[in-house]
Amino acid sequence: MTKSTARAGAGLQGRDRLAFLLVLVPYLIEHEQVSVATAAEHFGVGEALIRESVALIAVSGVPGETSAYQHEDLFDIDWDLFEQRDQIVLTRLVVIDDSPRFSAREAAALIAGLQYLSALPGSADDEVIGSLMSKLAIGSSGRPTEVAVAASPATAALVPVRDALAQRRELSFDYLSADGRTEHRTVDPLRVESLDRDWYLRGWCHLRQAVRTFRIDRMNSVEIGENQAQHGADDLSVPSDFFQPSATDLTVTINIDTAALPMIAEFFTADSQVREVGNRSLVNLRLGHVHGFKRVVAGLGGLAEVTDPGTAREEVAAWSREALAGYGL
């Protein structure tokens, strides 16, 4: 089970389309002649959306003095260029001649993103971020929404990782794997990614001869090698999702108070199922590795119980028993 992320209504599509029309017009004004392909690439959208939008702009306008949408009240384009050569040239403008302001929430989304990035070593410094934040505030139609992100301290290893990536050199380190063993790895760095507080390196692993994901705070003795990296992000496809289900994943059934389900929502995968029994729920979760799930369960404050398989139950029990023994209990 996953919480449905579908958002309501046909209105949303119309609204998003409107937003796009209002930015496409000033872009087309700025560029006297531009191809459909160039515009699509610039905005990162499909060519079909550009063509439909241009066709709509070309017949739109204001009611005008006669309230009858006369020819001179409408935008116009060079239709021959558009239909025969896929080129866009606006030949008449109506009302719009500038980019719209940011909405309060758009400005807030960018500002919070900037705050998050400020933790990144070598990113824009406080001064640049401060100046951008005030520009966004001036450029927004309302005071930016009160959304803020506290930058978390970045792992020390992020600096050499970033440098190796920038210099396209090999990186070697001792890596603490999920099962608690430490292995020496040499990697061609491809991309540095983050998920909230955690930073990851995607890299070509020399040992595994494949693209692997490494959590940067699990690295030790990180060194930039002498050798140039053999692989770069351009010549390898890096899967966009770094937690991929694998055959070695363990499926466990967890019994949890139904009201507390949201607390484990982040572990749901597409094939998770929830079955309600009284005021409790049974959920199957696929967890990345055998040694990870006991931490998840023990970290739920006693609100959850593993019911299946029995070996997993025993493992959680042993984990908490050993911890209590540390306290002499």
């Binding site: 980019s99 998050y116 990035l117 824009a124 920038a166 608690g180 009201a259 949201p262 006991k294 139950r313």
Partner: protein, 344 residues
């Protein structure tokens, strides 16, 4: 959608109607009355019945107005002087000066690069739509970005389903209600809150607001909000300017004021996680700040035998209590046998 079922006027797509509405309101300096809009603007005029019943068309206009405002377009209502209270004479307009990005706001290629990266941080959830639109607006400026941070793909999540409704309610200044399971409590309690800010601290999202039962400012963890957030019709008047910064300052203060003394097994998951946050990585025992004793106890209990809490006693007790509960849940008979048919 509630389209008219009357004899088939030509169907005008939603985006064409909305675009025409924005153009018409931008073009008119003194504004247009609702009757003028419905009878002349493309997408409405096709369905307008002169002298007839236009109720459904009027409702359509109300929804469109909300959609336009939702995008941050300053759609204003103007009352003609001396005619207040007469809805028929209300005029609608979008002042060009409030709509256009001010001329003094310009961005260098490097700034566009940083902002583009900031915009890609949100790749899921409600803020990704907002930042996608913001990125389109940036691109409309036609400044090519220089890419100072190539090879980075940072990502922030707003996985909690409470985020979107809270953000919208905050924007509209409406009170909300939700069931909140306070860390350390076993049962949730209903809270009524005027939401003033959404902040992420220590990787967790919080909503800061006025708790209407206590009439005091409170901060809630989004992951502890159970079930749906209800947006009420009660609006609030508290000014929330600067609330997010203040809420973060408070959380930071709380974090700085509390420190745990921990024995951590070297070279374990716990060590890797906690060393980054330690005051001094070389210390033994390790000193680590925390914000909430119960939230931190949950995390530490997850590390099992890899961490031993020395101080403070409250944190130590909280961890032990969790470990005991977990052990009890996983020994003897299964909870599923106990809980079936049992009422709380």
């Amino acid at each position: 959608m509630f389209e008219s079922t009357r004899a088939t006027p030509p169907r005008v797509p939603v985006e064409e109607r909305l675009f025409s509405l924005v153009l018409a309101l931008l073009a008119s300096e003194q504004g247009l009355t609702k009757a003028e809009i419905l009878s002349t603007v493309q997408g409405y005029r096709q369905r307008f019945v002169r002298g007839g019943d236009n109720t459904s068309l009027e409702r359509q206009f109300e929804r469109d107005k909300d959609d336009v405002r939702e995008l941050g377009i300053p759609l204003e209502t103007v009352e003609p002087p001396g005619e207040s209270g007469n809805n028929q004479l209300l005029r609608y307009r979008i002042p060009k000066g409030e709509y256009d990005l001010p001329a003094e706001v310009t961005f260098s290629p490097a700034e566009i690069g940083v902002l583009s990266l900031a915009g890609t941080v949100w790749r899921e959830g409600s803020l990704s739509d907002e930042s996608q639109r913001a990125l389109h607006k940036l691109r409309a400026l036609g400044v090519e970005s220089s890419d100072p941070l190539i090879g980075y793909a940072p990502r922030l999540r707003t996985r909690e389903s409470a985020f979107a409704p809270l953000n919208t309610a905050m924007d509209r200044k409406l009170e909300v209600a939700f069931d909140y399971l306070k860390p350390g409590d076993e049962h949730a309690r209903r809270r009524r809150v005027a939401p003033l800010a959404l902040v992420q601290h220590e990787g967790r999202w919080h909503v800061h607001g006025i708790d209407r039962d206590a009439e005091e400012p409170r901060t809630f963890l989004l992951s502890r909000i159970l079930g749906a957030v209800t947006t009420t019709r009660r609006s609030f008047t508290e000014d929330n300017a600067g609330s997010a910064e203040r809420a973060l300052t408070d959380l930071r203060g709380l974090y700085e004021s509390q420190c745990a003394l921990l024995d951590v097994r070297p070279n374990t998951e716990a060590a890797r996680r906690l060393l980054t946050r330690a005051l001094d990585r070389e210390d033994a025992p390790l000193r680590v700040h925390y914000t909430d004793v119960n939230v931190f106890a949950d995390e530490l209990a997850g590390y099992g035998p890899e961490v031993l809490v020395r101080e403070p006693a409250a944190l130590r007790d909280a961890v032990i209590e969790r470990l005991r509960r977990t052990l009890r849940n996983h020994t003897a008979e299964a909870v599923s046998d106990r809980s079936e048919g049992e009422s709380r």
